[in-house]
Structure formats: structure tokens, C-alpha cells
Symmetry: D2
Subunit: 134 residues, 4 copies
């Protein structure tokens, strides 16, 4: 652990402290580290490094052969998929959350293919990290 000091205008610091209180932080240091880590995770993704990502799909399982297609696509990328969690949202709608680890390019490609599949209503790729460089 190293320590370094930050200088900040009183008014800005007071506003930052109010923000921290409102968002559950008890500690400025933790909040600054979180801001820094967020920047570095974005950088890992832009640099095409090994990343961890989460693909979140919402789809209607009544759409013909949709689940077969989604399963097949996932098997084609089994080497980068860690796990897949399925939630039955209602009679029609499913949520599937797929945890992926690989180089940023392959993760994006899989996310694109799942998103483009007919019947997938919503699809998001979330940038996380292996945590090793944070």
C-alpha cells in the first residue's frame, strides 16, 4: 500500500463528500480508488487484453428454435464461457446471464452474435475484469 495526497478546493471537496454520503461511501480513499479502477477497466477492454464480461439477454422462449440457437452459439464458444444462469421472468420472457472470460475481441464477437439472433429482445455486454491488474 502506498499513500499520496490530493489537494482540492473546499467547495469541490464539500460537494464530493455529499455525493459520497448519498452513494453509501464512508471513505474518500475507497471512492477515489473506485473511480481509478473504472478508468483502468475501460482501458483493458480498449487494449484488447484478457477480460471478464457479462452478457445479459432477455428473450421470448416461444420464438421458434430460439433456445436451440442460443445454446448452439454458446457451445461454439464454450472455451470462453464460464457459466450461464437462466431466470424464468414470466410465461414468455427469459433472462440469461452468461459469464465470459477471454480477449476483448472474442467476447464482443460472441455478444454480437447473441444480440443479432432473432427473438432476443435485449442484450447487453458488461465490462468487468479478471481483477489481477486492479
Amino acid at each position: 500500500m502506498e499513500r499520496f495526497s490530493i489537494s482540492m478546493d473546499d467547495g469541490l471537496l464539500a460537494k464530493f463528500d455529499r455525493h459520497l454520503g448519498a452513494h453509501g461511501y464512508s471513505n474518500r480513499s475507497e471512492a477515489v480508488r473506485d473511480l481509478v479502477r473504472k478508468v483502468l477497466v475501460d482501458e483493458e477492454w480498449n487494449a484488447g487484453e484478457e477480460v471478464v464480461g457479462v452478457i445479459t439477454l432477455v428473450f421470448d422462449h416461444h420464438q421458434r428454435q430460439l433456445q436451440d440457437k442460443l445454446t448452439e452459439l454458446q457451445h461454439d464458444h464454450h472455451d470462453i464461457i464460464i457459466s450461464s444462469t437462466h431466470v424464468h421472468l414470466d410465461h414468455h420472457n427469459c433472462l440469461e446471464v452468461i459469464i465470459v472470460r477471454g480477449v476483448a475481441g472474442s467476447v464482443r464477437e460472441l455478444a454480437d452474435q447473441l444480440k443479432a439472433t432473432r427473438g432476443v429482445k435485449s442484450s447487453e455486454l458488461t465490462a468487468a475484469s479478471t481483477g489481477r491488474r486492479l
Copy 2:
């Protein structure tokens, strides 16, 4: 199902078609529907409606009492948490993916509290949907 027609300049349409090919779409209609649904999911979150969200945490489980704190925070919100998946990324780092369903405000509050916990390295809240209005 309804149909409506879109007019588009040739050059713009050609560029759109190339984009679709590069991102795995075989069909303009599906691509336009995806763009529309993305707008509507953002709107559900801004309007404070019932939403589905995914909270993705990366943390070091060696941080003292961190896992206890995260578990306790989750139990305090058990009524909006559907499931939680844990991945052991390496000797130090863990990934936890928590699926949540509730009004947008409560989901954001839980995500804030988890993010502000000391030892959580990275935390993202992903906007998904119950799918009912898509």
C-alpha cells in the same frame, strides 16, 4: 405483428447494411427492433418502472470480512434479488453476478451499497428488462 416502411438514402442504407453484416445480423428488421428496444429499456430505467438489473462485482475475498458484508447486504435486499452466481477468478479475485428485479430506484440503491464496500474492485449495474413491454 404490424409492418411499416422506412425510407433511407442509398448511401446511408449501404453503410447500415455493411454494419449489420459485420455484427452478425441477417435482417434489417431485427436490427431496427434492437435499436428501438434499447431506447425503450433506457426509458423504463429513467421512469423508475419495475426493471431487471444485473450487478457485476469483482473483489478480493482476502479483504477482511468482505464476503460477510456482501452477503449481509444481499440478505437485507433478498426481496429484490433473484439469484447470485459466484466465480473464483484466481487465488485472490472473485466475480459475483447478482440478478435483481425491482423498481429502478431500489436496484440502484443496492448497487451503490455493494460498490461502496471496501475491497470491491469493480462494480457495474447493467440495465435489462422484464421483457413485458418489449
Copy 3:
């Protein structure tokens, strides 16, 4: 000016320093202040406070009556528009950059109306600030 200290793991600090070098910062304090101010500007916009915004339009001035419509829309909101800069990008395309100051809701409404005007090819609303609370 106040000073406070931040503790950070060596590895994370080294990565942060490399990032700062690559993005032109000579000083950690300035970089942290920029991260904090970015959070606070977002908050000003979400809270509906008085903000400064920049609306960037790209449009084809050959589109019938487009310039009249854009001018009229701007006159209807003259009380929140500070200035408007016009660039002739080529024979067809114009860029117009409109600087606006008002409550966040009115600024968004004007930006929406300009964006929805037929012939406007691209439109962005950029969140800036009056600077008073930063």
C-alpha cells in the same frame, strides 16, 4: 484548498500512473479532481439544476426549409441560447454548435426538438457546467 490522502495498492497506483502519462497528466491530484468533477457534472444534470450544454448538429442545408426551421426553433428558445456557431463542412453538410444555459429539462427539450427535425443527420447534447459548483 484542502489536502487529504489516498491509500492505494502499489500495482494499482503504477497502472494509474501509466494511464496518466499516456493521457497528458503530469499530476495525480489534477487527474483525481477531474474524475471527481465529472461525477459532479453528471449529478447536476440528473438533479435538474442550472447547467450549460452544447448541442452539436450536422445537417444538409439543401433539405427544404431546414435552415428556417432550425432558426425558428432556436428563436423560440432564445432565452436559454447563448450563441450558435456555424461551419460549412462541404457543399452539402453544415455543422452547427449551439451553446445553451438553463435548467437541465429545458436544455434537453430543445435538443430533442432540433434532433427530431427532418434533415438533421446527427445531433448530440453534451453536458457541461456553469462551473460555479466545481
Copy 4:
């Protein structure tokens, strides 16, 4: 101009129409074109093509030598800067809006250098376009 047709579930279409009304669109075609163009502008920036960008700075002109530094930085990049508009926000705060045209990499580099300058409180780079491919 070409025409193509989109099929959409009634419920989704009704929701889309309500959204369009609330954001000033009188026409689905225009709204879909705007969504498509937004995707293509993002792509121009990611591909490193020639782009148009807007850099928005908020700064305190009382900060020692700040204006000299900002002017010097801009002169070093005069070949990509089209124009610069200055607004006196109050006794302390200035807004400067710089319109830039060049390959995406150079535009980002200039924006980084301006942002990292001590005394610049807020800095945003907005992605616009030459309009030629839209």
C-alpha cells in the same frame, strides 16, 4: 432514396410511437434514420476515420497562465481546429467550445491534452461527423 419495411410487434410499436411523440418526432422513418446514423457515427470514431469533434472546456481564467497554455496547445494543433468560441460564464468561469476536424486519433489526443491542463474544470469530447457518409 430506397424504401424497406420493418415488422414489429403491436405492443412494441405502440411504445415506440409514444416515445417518438414525447421526443418531438412526427415520423417513424426519421427516428429510425437517427438511430442508424448514431450507430454509424460511433463506428467512424472507432475506425479512426476523419471525423468532426467538439471539445467543450469549463475553466477558471484566474488560474495562473491557464489561458496562455490553452491558446498555445490550440496553436500547436491549428491544422485540425476549425474554430473556437468563448463564453464568459461569470466572474471566474469560462466556457470554450472548440470545433475540430481530423482523424479520430489526433482529435482525441488534443482533447486529452486540454483536459489534463491544470485549472480546466470540465472537459468533454463530443463525437460528430463530416456528414459525408450519413
